[in-house]
């Protein structure tokens, strides 16, 4: 079972686009069984209709797609209301926060409050991570410490730096907070992922492609290239996301 832990569907104000049918075709050609889908930031700036569209896609393809909502913490109380609506009424299974595209800092109080609320609702949070100033690994560590009941997945291995200079901070964040996980998309140096698997166990590293920003097939190649026990690779490819979602579902019942 291969689960892509992050894809972004719709037509983004930032110029990228991925339709649901196009995603399914890509998953089929790459042998990916299921994919987490979260919405883009649209040209209208309104995320609620995008969350609705993700819920519709999840209902249409329940065996293939796992819907996550996207909420902007700057909306304050309305953001909390939207998260609750998405989880409790639309049946979405997680939350995507994208501080870079929305324009906020991940450890500002409204964002922390949302992350804590997600934990209360029993859903994980994926953070588009590694962006300097707004979503650096140590900023996310600060959030994770304030929201111990929430599982947080840092995309990009928690670091976007093609010199490798942010790896120490991402590694330290993982060391500090058991509720943090790293996603594999775009990670500079595969040996960073190998070190994470070795230090924290295969349970804390997840396959995320973040398609269409990254190429889904190539990102799957990246996971295949990690030098690790073959028996452990399945954790990254699907077991970890399955467990995170099952634990959340249990806590909701």
């Amino acid at each position: 079972m291969i689960i892509d832990g992050l894809t972004i569907v719709g037509s983004s104000i930032n110029g990228y686009r991925l339709g649901v049918e196009e995603l399914l075709a890509s998953m089929n050609s790459n042998g990916i069984d299921k994919g987490v889908i979260a919405p883009v930031q649209p040209k209208t700036y309104r995320l609620e209709p995008q969350n609705d569209a993700v819920a519709v896609a999840q209902m249409r393809y329940p065996d293939r797609l796992i819907g996550f909502c996207r909420v902007d913490p700057r909306q304050g109380e309305d953001a909390i209301t939207e998260l609750r609506r998405c989880v409790l009424r639309l049946g979405l299974k997680g939350l995507l926060l994208h501080p870079m595209e929305e324009g906020y800092t991940i450890n500002d109080p409204p964002a922390v409050r949302l992350v804590r609320e997600a934990g209360s609702l029993g859903v994980p949070v994926v953070v588009a991570a590694g962006y300097p100033w707004v979503a650096h690994a140590q900023q996310i560590r600060s959030v994770a410490e304030q929201a111990e009941g929430t599982t947080i997945v840092m995309s990009h291995g928690g670091q976007i730096n093609i010199s490798g200079l942010a790896q120490a901070d991402a590694f330290l964040a993982m060391q500090t907070c058991d509720n943090l996980r790293v996603g594999t998309n775009g990670v500079y140096r595969q040996d960073f992922l190998e070190e994470c698997v070795e230090a924290f166990g295969p349970e804390r590293v997840l396959f995320t492609s973040m398609a269409p920003v990254f190429d889904q097939g190539f990102e799957l190649d990246r996971v295949s290239s990690i030098k690790m026990e073959e028996s452990d690779r399945q954790y990254l490819l699907g077991t970890n996301m399955t467990r995170i979602l099952e634990e959340g579902a249990r806590s909701r019942t």
Partner: protein
């Protein structure tokens, strides 16, 4: 298919926590089917690692048919030009590597320009880091390209994660700028670089051993190049750059 990796590393450097002796790279080259690799240290001579050039020379001597050394030198060092000359003339090195974040100087800094011009006297290529960091931004290469039009300048990583478009744009403007594909996470941007710059200006690089050379090669295969484009990117471009390097200056014999 012959493959030469234009950007890889050999070094054991405690401060960065990266321990990659030559054997680590050779093993990955074998796994990926890579014939030769251009290698450099992680740390700069003489500031971070006083014996960096000797270390690299000795490492490459163990695998003379596989590893091709570039001297990684801090241009701020008083003896930077002399070190480069020794590296090329006495140690047979084939190029210069500058990592701007490591040496705290952008590509247009005076000391960088001077050392690049020195490398150009030998027709030796200069491989620069390029990415999203403040001293490594692709548009910073415009001034250097203007001041050293005779130099062959390679932008590693094609501008990193968020400056790939800038890397392509600046290379479109200056013919003496090339890109390498190492660690660039976007196969479609490699394709775009080849379409806009021409396959003769795009070099395959892995940034191994940290970045897996086999994965980096898979990225190129995903792009869907013609046989001719593939030959240029994977082999011919870097070989023709290296063949132009001379190990003594005109009017001066070997030392």
């Amino acid at each position: 298919m012959r493959v030469v990796d234009s950007h890889a590393h050999v070094d054991e450097y405690e401060a960065f926590g990266w321990f990659d002796p030559p054997e680590a790279m050779i093993e990955l080259m074998d796994e990926a089917g890579i014939e030769k690799a251009v290698v450099m240290t992680y740390a700069d001579a003489p500031v971070l690692k006083p014996d960096a050039l000797r270390y690299l020379h000795d490492a490459c001597k163990k695998y003379p048919d596989r590893l091709i050394p570039y001297a990684r030198i801090n241009p701020h060092a008083d003896n930077a030009a002399l070190l480069l000359e020794e590296a090329i003339v006495d140690l047979g090195m084939k190029g210069l590597k500058i990592h701007q974040e490591s040496v705290t100087a952008a590509a247009h800094h005076g000391s960088v320009v001077r050392l690049v011009k020195k490398a150009a006297e030998f027709n030796a290529p200069v491989l620069f880091h390029s990415g999203d960091e403040p001293l490594s931004l692709p548009q910073q290469f415009a001034k250097l390209a203007e001041e050293a039009p005779e130099a062959t300048i390679i932008l590693a990583h094609m501008g990193g994660y968020h400056h790939t478009d800038d890397a392509i744009r600046v290379c479109e403007r200056y013919d003496n700028l090339l890109v390498d594909t190492s660690a660039c996470p976007y196969p479609h941007k490699v394709k775009e670089a080849i379409e806009r710059l021409g396959a003769h200006r795009v070099l395959f690089g892995s940034d191994g051993p940290g970045c897996n050379p086999k994965l980096e090669l898979q990225k190129i295969m995903r792009v869907g190049l013609s046989e001719n484009e593939q030959r240029l990117v994977l082999h011919d471009n870097i070989m023709s750059v290296l063949e132009r390097v001379r190990h003594h200056l005109p009017g001066r014999g070997p030392r």
